[in-house]
């Protein structure tokens, strides 16, 4: 009876495991170096966005890149902007980051834009690959295949293997295993996908009905999947899969060797120990089954495999007819189950009280590795070890990350709202400082401005005059004030003499002419020097005027900056505050819905585990009673045998002593000894009960 049921269990386990394993294994994709790496940085802000992206600060990275891209598009001559070197890369990077930030719709839209745009085919191919990746992640496999079919010609080298691997996984999901096998065969030896290709190939072969080939491929992987924790886990997973597969085929000895290959400290060790025990039990070697099961029984009391082992151990003892030990083990199992049922009940209460969501919102969630597991250490927190399987599921992970993203956005917005308050305070302070002093400053500035303008006009006139002198030589225009005065006096004297000829004499006329000649001669002789000097002076004046104009411009800028520091923000801040408040309301609602889903799933999981344990408890109680009965029966049987043996010995002793004691050859008594007589009277019944008690 049991072996068949055990096989059934193993079969169920296997089919369930296979169904889990048939979800193709994905190599943990590193950050795509093509999209988020640059050898020569041409734009600091692109580098800053990369700095955020590498730390998974998606909001900062995406918003920075978005801003850069928008600003770049608004430029008149975008090719002059150093960002143009990174522009295409930035567009892909935004798509990638949106994908990492689980904004599949936006990422998909970005890729579709690239596909519809007028770009080179290799870029379109890369976009198609990325779009397919998005559909794959969303479990829309037909759409993923459709996107892959858009790829024409050459695929960029750095994504070629990934594209092929993705295509193979899509085929597997669509049940086209033979096509997947062909692609995966081609990918063998691809270093970046080492192990993952072989695993998927093995599964594809098994699914395609080529069992032996599949086992062979998986066997190779199970021997050596490579170094590193991920590869070791893959190796264990492969061996576990093979062990279960062979146990299903009743090849128990072969199955055992695969279970034995699984590391004892790895994440699959519990399942492997359990499987190793079942292999031995199926083969009827219960004593050997006890070895892995006993080991498993000592492990973490929250694991389903450990619970199963707690029942399997006494079961094996029972099969070995050691019913008393079986009873003791059933008793231990009952105690352990009782404790765990209490833990589960407390955990459910804790989740209902909101402790799980509270812990998920803590800062540690982003700082402590495996926080969802570690949070169990908080006082009053639920026992998250029971949720490990649930938490490993894609849906739960998505819910969890969405919840944490929403919480981060909520906190970020809350900080911005506080910042907006601070901005308004700054603006008010600036207004109260500038508004009283600016009118006075403006008046003073206007006066200075008028004087500056006047001086500038004077300078322009002087410059024009000097320029004119270069073409039209007029030395008198460069005369000094005393020379001009002397020239004017001489002109005046000549006019007086013309008006009163009586006063004039030849000598006087000559003297005036001589003086005028001397003056003209000096002006004419010094004209070039004076002109040069005038030029130099004008240049010096230009320097002073440049300083004046700079001061003027600085003042204008400062004046504008003063106004801009508090004017024109009111509407923008009001609009942003409105946007933030609306976003907060939406985030709050979405968090409540997402949190409720998380709680509900966790409670359902814990409820199921509790129901399972309660069911185990009932069965363990029955089995315990059964073991006691069998132990008692066995004890009675042994007691009877002992007494029969004692009687036989007595008879033999009597026979030996008979020749001396009974020389006449009197026949031996043939009736039963009194303890073997059926009880007839009350006294007899009592003595029988007493014997039972003994």
């Amino acid at each position: 009876m049991f072996p068949r049921l055990a096989c059934a269990i193993a079969g169920v386990t296997l089919s369930a495991l296979t169904s889990l394993h048939s979800i193709p294994v994905q190599a943990k994709a590193p950050v795509d170096p093509g999209a988020l790496h640059t050898d020569e940085l041409k734009d600091l802000f692109f580098g800053e966005a990369l700095f955020n992206a590498y730390q998974d600060n998606y909001v900062d990275a995406i918003s920075a890149l978005d801003t850069e891209i928008k600003q770049h598009r608004l430029l008149d001559d975008p090719e002059l902007d150093p960002f143009s070197v990174h522009f295409g890369q930035a567009e892909f990077a935004v798509g990638d980051l949106e994908l990492s930030y689980r904004m599949h719709q936006e990422a998909g839209r970005a890729m579709e834009q690239v596909l519809q745009g007028n770009v080179a085919q290799p870029i379109k191919n890369e976009a198609a690959y990325r779009l397919a990746k998005i559909h794959y992640q969303k479990q829309q496999f037909a759409n993923a295949l459709h996107a892959l079919e858009l790829i024409q010609g050459r695929v960029p080298e750095r994504v070629r293997a990934k594209e092929q691997f993705l295509r193979a996984r899509v085929y597997m999901q669509l049940g086209r295993f033979s096509e997947a096998v062909e692609l995966l065969e081609d990918l063998k030896g691809e270093k970046s996908l080492q192990g993952f290709v072989e695993y998927n190939l093995g599964i594809a072969l098994l699914k395609a009905g080529e069992t032996e080939k599949g086992v062979l491929v998986l066997d190779g992987l199970g021997r050596n999947a490579g170094s590193g924790a991920a590869r070791q886990a893959l190796q264990d997973k492969t061996n576990l899969l093979l062990g279960n597969q062979l146990m299903k085929e009743e090849q128990f000895d072969r199955a055992r060797q695969y279970f034995d290959r699984v590391q004892l400290s790895g994440p699959f060790s519990d399942q492997a120990l359990l499987g190793a025990g079942w292999v031995e039990a199926n083969a009827g070697r219960y004593d050997r089954a006890l070895v892995p099961w006993q080991m498993l029984k000592q492990r973490r009391a929250t694991d389903a495999a450990v619970h199963e082992a707690m029942l399997a151990v006494p079961y094996a003892y029972g099969k070995l007819d050691v019913h008393s030990t079986a009873a003791v083990n059933y008793g231990q199992a009952l105690d352990a189950f009782g404790e765990q049922v209490d833990v589960l009940s407390q955990s459910i209460t804790s989740i209902r009280e909101g402790k799980l969501l509270e812990a998920l919102r803590r800062k540690e969630a982003s700082q402590v590795k495996n926080w969802v597991v570690e949070l169990r250490k908080l006082p009053g927190a639920p026992e998250t070890h029971y949720l490990l399987d649930l938490m490993a599921s894609n849906d739960y992970q998505e819910f969890l990350r969405n919840y944490q993203d929403l919480n981060n956005l909520f906190e970020r917005n809350r900080d911005w709202l506080q910042s907006l308050d601070a901005f308004e305070e700054i603006i008010a302070l600036r207004r109260s400082y500038y508004e009283p002093i600016l009118p006075g400053l403006d008046v003073a500035f206007r006066q200075i401005d008028a004087r500056i303008k006047m001086r500038l006009e004077q300078r322009q006139r002087l410059a024009a005059r000097i320029d004119n002198l270069l073409v039209n030589r007029r030395p008198e225009l460069l005369a000094k004030s005393d020379e001009t005065e002397a020239r004017l006096i001489l002109e005046q004297m000549r006019e007086i003499l013309e008006f009163n000829p009586n006063l004039s004499s030849e000598e006087t006329t000559d003297r005036i002419a001589r003086l005028e000649g001397v003056l003209k001669f000096r002006l004419s002789r010094e004209f070039d020097d004076r002109l040069t000097k005038a030029y130099k002076n004008l240049r010096e004046l230009d320097g002073v005027i440049a300083t004046l104009q700079e001061t003027y411009q600085r003042y204008v800028r400062t004046r504008q900056a003063a106004t801009h520091s508090y004017e024109g923000y009111t509407d923008q801040i009001a609009s942003l505050r409105g946007g933030l408040n609306r976003a907060q309301d939406r985030i709050d609602q979405l968090m409540a819905r997402q949190g409720s889903m998380l709680e509900q799933l966790a409670i359902n999981e814990l409820d199921e585990r509790r129901a399972q344990l309660e069911s185990y408890q009932i069965k363990a109680r029955f089995a315990l009673a059964d073991s006691y009965d069998r132990a008692n029966e066995l004890q009675e049987q042994r007691e009877d045998e002992r007494k029969v043996e004692q009687y036989r010995v007595q008879v033999e002793q009597m026979q030996e002593a008979e020749p001396a004691a009974n020389p006449d050859g009197e026949p031996l008594p043939t009736d039963n000894p009194p303890e073997l007589e059926a009880p007839e009277a009350e006294g007899g019944a009592e003595s029988a009960e007493a014997a039972d008690d003994e």
Binding site: N52, S393, A583
Partner: protein, 175 residues
Amino acid sequence: MCRILITLTTAVLMSLSVLANAQNVSREEIRGLDEQIQDVKKDVISLTSELNRLEEKLLFPSNTQAAFFISLAGSASGEEFSLESVEVKLGNQVVAHHLYTYREIEALQQGGVQRIHTANVQTGAHPLVVSYHGKSKSGKEYSGTASFSVEKAVGPKFVEIQIAGTQSAINFKDW
């Protein structure tokens, strides 16, 4: 015993149907919620961009803005050099002192650029002194200090401080 085994079978089936839990919440509901979450993320990112611009305009107007960025020089990138701390003095005042986390170090090694400080300064020359401490992969400690004169003009000023760790050198680049 038979019943025990039947129960065991049921229990195993139950334990393996963890994913079926998610089915308690309908697929449509999950998709609808997911799409709404994506929408709100998009809106918040857009708001964040606008808020960043507002903050910069308000707190660091372009005529006084001077921003300082840390990067690792080509030879220091990769995993050869781990930056531990950087101190920036502007005008003889310590304006930034940063201790690096593991993720920040990785981000710098991969080619990211960290904005370490943004200041408001007047036009003219401002002395900048940068010092750093770090370690090579082998555990050898490196440190260095270098000075630079920041010439602030009318427009915003961006200075890249490039640390060539294992050469104990710091290069400055005006952007």
